[in-house]
């Protein structure tokens, strides 16, 4: 806490904290815009594909579980780094990266299934296909960027507290 010239106390936030919140808000706006576009296209379309028929729900569920596990792993890495346990933090970061890679593999498998299935669905097969590939492709790029940053943090060296600051 700090005080303004007229004596009113207010909380301060560093550039890292503000930058992270701005990044999160813009990231949410990007995904929000894409999902809203999907909704508008869906509402205006005369016909629409049935996702239940197209997708392998167990695979999609496994991919969701993988992402949730990666989220938990990165938080456990943070927790370990906060306590100065740099080695444990790196192990959890490695687990996070493995989960991210498993998700990307699952996405590639799903795309392959859709492209080569009984009724092939390509990027230009229709509004649903275009919207699906753009949104999930954007998400995939998002995961790749996250993996690269995490790999940089993991390989960057430093002790627990230094690692915690970078995380």
């Amino acid at each position: 806490m700090t005080a303004s010239p007229d004596g009113v106390a207010f909380e301060t936030a560093g550039a890292g904290r503000i930058g992270m919140w701005i990044f999160l808000v813009t990231d949410a706006m990007g995904f929000g815009a894409l999902l809203l576009a999907y909704g508008v296209l869906r509402a205006r379309a005369a016909g629409w594909a049935d996702p239940m028929q197209l997708f392998m729900i167990p695979v999609a569920a496994a991919m969701t579980l993988t992402l949730l596990t990666s989220s938990l792993a990165v938080l456990l890495a943070l927790s370990a780094a906060d306590k100065g346990r740099g080695r444990a933090a790196r192990v959890w970061l490695a687990a996070t990266i493995l989960c991210g890679l498993a998700f990307l593999l699952g996405q590639a498998f799903e795309f392959r299934h859709l492209l080569d299935g009984g009724a092939p669905m390509g990027l230009t097969s229709g509004l649903f296909a275009s919207a699906f590939y753009v949104i999930t492709g954007f998400h995939g790029l998002h995961v790749i960027a996250g993996l690269l940053v995490l790999a940089g943090v993991m390989l960057g060296g430093g002790s627990g507290p230094a690692l915690a600051r970078r995380l």
Binding site: E11, T12, A13, G14, G16, R17, M20, W21, L24, A28, G32, L36, G39, V40, A43, R44, M52, I57, A61, T64, L65, L68, T69, S71, L72, L75, L76, L78, S79, D82, R165
Partner: protein, 98 residues
Amino acid sequence: MDGVVRRGRAQYVAGFLVLVALTALELGVIRLDVLRAARITALAGLAMAKAGLIVWVFMDLRAQPRVVQVLAFAPLLLAPGFTVVLMLDVVYRAAGAR
């Protein structure tokens, strides 16, 4: 992030288990033999609950100042309203064009 009071492992693991349970619930809902609109509403509600839980527990919003909490949750609550209004507008315009 600087200045953030991070929660312990127990809270993160508990949040993870609730998220897994909500995902399992979603899998159950998509197989329910009910009205499509009811199914979609339930799935949207579950998705909102998951998003809220992720922001609150995983992203440590719980440890942030009240003003940040309000700023983060206000759009999350407004978004479904705007979406419904936009959808109704699109449907109305499409019906008018026919």
